[in-house]
Symmetry: C2
Subunit: 517 residues, 2 copies
C-alpha cells in the first residue's frame, strides 16, 4: 500500500517528476503545508523573494532561459496581486510559469476573514490557465494539467489556487506519465506558399519574434535573407533573442511609431515570423495603431502562437538555402574613455560584456545607444521588457542567473524601473548569483519627459516636473545595494564603468554599479 502524504507534497512530487526544479516563493500562513512539503522534495530548489514581484519576474527570467516552468508560491489574493505586473510581462513573453496560490480553507472562505479576496478575478487577466483545486484527490491531476498547459508551445502562465485544507489532506501519490507537450507547427503548404512568395517578390521584410530569434532561427533567417533579399527585423521588445558579433544582424523596430513606419515604408510586404502584427506601443492622436505602412501587405509564415524556429528551418530547406549566413560585423576593439552618457555607456558595455553572457535589458531611454550597437558585442542572449510593466529587470536577471549558473548575467537597468522591485538584490546576494547590475542613473523618468514633450509640454511646469523627477533627494544606489547585501560602486566615467563591469563578471556573486548619467 502506498504511504499517504499531504496533497501539498503529492503535487510538488508531481512537479518534480515533470522536471520542475525551482520554486520562487514568498509564502504566508496559507502556504505552510507546501513550505513543509518542499523539504521532502530534494529536486526542487526553494528561493525566497522579499516581494512577490521578485518571484514572478524571476520565474519569467528562468522560464525564458530554461524553456520549462518554475513554480511561484504566492500568498492569497494580495500576494498574487503583487506578482501581477511581472506575470503580465511573462505573459507577453510567452514564458512558462506555474503559480501556486494558497487560499483559505474551503470551509473558512464564507467567514470573509480579512485576507479573503477574489483570487480568480485577479488571476485571469495574466493566466492562460486558472483552476481552483477542488479536492485533495484532484491536486496532482490539477498540478499536472497546470504544467502541461504552461509547457506546451506557445508557453504560458498557469495559476493553481490551493485551499489550505486541501493542501493538508492525506492522499496517495500516483505518478502521471510525463505528457508530451504540444507544439503548433506551421503546415507544409504555408511554408511552400511563403517560399514561392519570397522567391518571386521583392521589397519584403521578415519580422521575427519569439523563437525565430533563437540561434537556429536566426541562422535560417539569415540564409533565407541571403538567397531572397528579404530584410530581417525583430519586434521592438523581445522575450529572448540571440545577438552579437558574428551572428546574423536583425534590425530592431524603433519604439516610436513615426520612425518605425518610416523604416518599414520601403517594403511591399511584411511577413510575420513568430511576431505579432506590429503596432504602436501607445496610441497617439492622428497616428494609426498599426505600423504597417499603407500599400504594404501583411503575410504570415508563423503567428506568435506557432513554432517560428521550425517554420524558418523548413522554409530555408524549401528554398534550398545553404545553412550559412552573412556574418555580422565583428567585435570592436577598445573601450570608450570620458564622461558617461548613454552613448559611452553603451560602448563600455559592448566592449567588455563577456562571451555567452545574458543581458537583461530594462534600460529604457538610457539603453537606446547600447541596443543599436549590441550586435557588435560578444555573442549573448538578450532578455527584454516584453509587457511594458516596469520593475522586470532585476527579478528577471535573478531568475536567469538561477537558470544558468555558469553564465554571467548583466542587468542593464533604468533607475526608475529598478526601484519597483529593488528587493531582488537581496535574493541575488543570498543565492550568490553572478549578476552585474548597471543602474543607468539619470534621476528621472526620462521617457515621461519625452512623452510630455510629445503632448506639447516641452517645458514641464512644477507638478509635471516633480512627477517625472527622481532627484530631490537623489537615490544613493550604492547605499541601497549594500543595504541588501550587494557590493556596489559608483562611476562617472566610461573607462571606470568598463573596468567595474569587467571585474564584476569575473567574480562570483552580485555587484551593482551606479552609472551616473
Amino acid at each position: 500500500m502506498t504511504r499517504k502524504i499531504t496533497a501539498a507534497e503529492a503535487l510538488l512530487r508531481c512537479a518534480a517528476d515533470s522536471d520542475v526544479r525551482v520554486c520562487f516563493a514568498n509564502p504566508g500562513t496559507t502556504e505552510m503545508a507546501l513550505v513543509s512539503a518542499l523539504d521532502n522534495i530534494p529536486n526542487i530548489k526553494a528561493v525566497l523573494g522579499l516581494f512577490e514581484g521578485v518571484c514572478t519576474g524571476a520565474a519569467d527570467g528562468y522560464g525564458r532561459m530554461i524553456g520549462k516552468p518554475a513554480l511561484t508560491l504566492l500568498h492569497l489574493g494580495p500576494g498574487f496581486a503583487n506578482g501581477i505586473a511581472n506575470l503580465h510581462n511573462a505573459h507577453r513573453a510567452n514564458s512558462p510559469v506555474v503559480n501556486l496560490v494558497g487560499d483559505h480553507a474551503t470551509w473558512h472562505l464564507e467567514a470573509d476573514a480579512p485576507l479573503t479576496a477574489d483570487i480568480d478575478s485577479l488571476a485571469r487577466p495574466v493566466s492562460n490557465w486558472t483552476r481552483r483545486c477542488g479536492s485533495p484527490s484532484g491536486a496532482v491531476r490539477d498540478m499536472h494539467a497546470a504544467i502541461v498547459s504552461a509547457s506546451s508551445y506557445p508557453q504560458k502562465i498557469s495559476t493553481l489556487i490551493l485551499p489550505t485544507d486541501i493542501q493538508q489532506a492525506p492522499v496517495e501519490y500516483k505518478r502521471f506519465a510525463k505528457s508530451a507537450c504540444e507544439t503548433k507547427v506551421v503546415a507544409e503548404e504555408e511554408v511552400q506558399r511563403i517560399a514561392k512568395f519570397l522567391s518571386e517578390g521583392k521589397d519584403i521584410a521578415l519580422l521575427l519574434g519569439r523563437n525565430a530569434l533563437s540561434l537556429k532561427g536566426l541562422e535560417s533567417a539569415a540564409a533565407i535573407s541571403a538567397i531572397t533579399g528579404a530584410d530581417l527585423f525583430s519586434e521592438t521588445f523581445v522575450g529572448r533573442a540571440e545577438r552579437g558579433a558574428n551572428l546574423p544582424k536583425v534590425t530592431r523596430l524603433p519604439y516610436f511609431p513615426e520612425p518605425a513606419t518610416e523604416l518599414l515604408s520601403k517594403y511591399r510586404s511584411i511577413v510575420l515570423v513568430g511576431a505579432r502584427p506590429p503596432v504602436s506601443f501607445f496610441g497617439y492622436e492622428g497616428i494609426p495603431s498599426s505600423l504597417v505602412p499603407k500599400n504594404c501587405r501583411l503575410d504570415i509564415l508563423a503567428t506568435e502562437l506557432e513554432d517560428a524556429e521550425n517554420a524558418l528551418i523548413n522554409l530555408s530547406t524549401e528554398l534550398n538555402c545553404k545553412r550559412t549566413f552573412t556574418h555580422g560585423a565583428s567585435h570592436p576593439n577598445g573601450r570608450p574613455v570620458g564622461a558617461l552618457n548613454p552613448e559611452s555607456l553603451g560602448q563600455a558595455v559592448v566592449a567588455v560584456q563577456p562571451d555567452n553572457c545574458i543581458v537583461v535589458d530594462e534600460s529604457a531611454t538610457s539603453g537606446g545607444p547600447y541596443a543599436s550597437i549590441s550586435h557588435l558585442a560578444a555573442p549573448h542572449t538578450v532578455l527584454q521588457l516584453t509587457g511594458g510593466a516596469i520593475g522586470q529587470g532585476l527579478p528577471c536577471a535573478t531568475g536567469a542567473a538561477i537558470a544558468c549558473p555558469d553564465r554571467a548575467v548583466i542587468a542593464l537597468q533604468a533607475d526608475g524601473s529598478a526601484l519597483y522591485t529593488i528587493q531582488a538584490l537581496w535574493t541575488q546576494a543570498r543565492e550568490s548569483l553572478n549578476v552585474t547590475t548597471i543602474i543607468c542613473s539619470n534621476r528621472s523618468y526620462r521617457i515621461l519627459r519625452i512623452e510630455l514633450g510629445r503632448t506639447g509640454e516641452k517645458d514641464p511646469r512644477e507638478k509635471a516636473h516633480s512627477l517625472t523627477d527622481l532627484g530631490n533627494p537623489s537615490i544613493d544606489w550604492v547605499s541601497i545595494a549594500e543595504g541588501f547585501g550587494v557590493p556596489a560602486t559608483r562611476v562617472e566615467r566610461s573607462e571606470d564603468l568598463a573596468k567595474e563591469i569587467d571585474a564584476s563578471v569575473k567574480n562570483p556573486g552580485p555587484n551593482l554599479i551606479e552609472a551616473v548619467l
Copy 2:
C-alpha cells in the same frame, strides 16, 4: 462662453471643487494629460510615489485621517495591479480612495499593444465602484460619482478608468453642486431595542469597530459600559482608533482564535457596534471560523456599514448616561533600560511617544507587547493593518503625515513587511514628513515560524527555515534608509531607542531607527 479645457483638467477641477486636496501619483504615458492638468489645479497637491503600492497605501492613510478621499494616479493594468495589495487593506478599513487609472486610447485598445490588460477585472475585487469613462462629456459626471461613492458612509474605493483620448478631448467644465454624501444611520427602534437588552441583560460584550473607536464613540461606549456593566472590546485590527492614557480602555481581541474565544467565553451575548462578526484570521483544522462561543448570541447595534459612532451616542442618550467615563490608567513614568526585546521595545515607545501622535502599527509579532500596553501611552490615533496584505505601514504613515502635517507619525514596523513597499521612505524624504519609522528587526518572518509550529513543524527543516528567514544576508536598514534619503540609526538597547524616538519626533523630516531584536 466657457473656455474649453481638457476632460482631464475638467475632472480634476471637479475633484478640487469636491474638496479633494491630494493626488498620490505614479503616472505613465497614458496619464500625461492628467499630469499636465494638475499644474492648472492649485488646490490639489501632487505627491510622487516610486511604486504604486506606496500611492495606494498613502491614500489609505490619508483617507483614514481626513475622512475624505485622496486621488491616486496609476498607469494602466500593471500599475493598478501594483497598488492592489494596499487597496485591499483600504477596502477592509473602509477608507475613502478614488483611483484614476489611465488606459490606452479607445481606438488603440484593439491593437492589443504590450501594456494592454483587463483593468476592469483587476479593479473589481478591491473597488466598490468601478467605471470606464466612455466620453469626454461624461468625465466630470463620472468623477463626481466616484467621489460621492467613495465619500458616502461606509467610505470605500472608487476606480475610474480613463482612456487617453478621452482625457485629452476638449470640454466645457460645469461645476456640479456638491452632493450630500449618504450616511447609514441606525434606526431609533434598534437603538431602543439594544438599550433595553443592555439594561436587562448581563455578561454582555460590546465589540467595537470602525467609527465606534472615535473619541466620541469611545466616550459614549465607556459611559454605556459604566451604567450597564457591558465590557468593551475592539476588533483585532482596526482602521483607526483613538487610544491612550485617560481614554476609555478597550480590550483588543487576540489574533489567534483559541485565546480570542477563551476571552469571549464568559459572555452570553456579543453586540456588534460597527464591527463585523468576529472570525478567525485564518482557518485552522478543528477550530470554527466564528469566534463567537457556543451558547453566546450575537446582537447588532450597528453593522460595519452603519454609523456606529452615532448609534453609540444615541444609545447613551437612551440609557441616560452621563457623558463621562471611567478613566483609563494614566501614563507611566520612566523609560526601560537594557537590551531590546519586544517587551522593552513596547515600553520604550509607550514611554516617549508624544501626545497626539499617530501610530501606524504594522509591527506583527514584535508589536504584541506594545499593543497590550499602548492604552497607557499619551493619547494618540492608531492605524492598523486591516486587510493582512503586508507592506501597508510605511505608505500608510506617509499618507497620514501628509494629512496631518502638525502631528508626529510613528511607524511601528515589522522588518519583513517593511520591505514590500520600502520605496515609501523616499516620498517621506522628498516631502520632509515627520515620520519616525521603528523597524522591529528580528530578521525573520516570525509569524510564519509560529504558524509552521501550529502545523506541527516545531523545528523547520532547511527549506522551511530558509523561506521564513530574513538573515543571510541581514538587511542593513540604516544603509537602505540613507539610500532613500532618510537619516537612520541602529539601536540595540531600549534606552537608546527611547532617546532616538524622542529626538526624531521633535525634529522635522523623517528618520528611521533599526531596533535590533
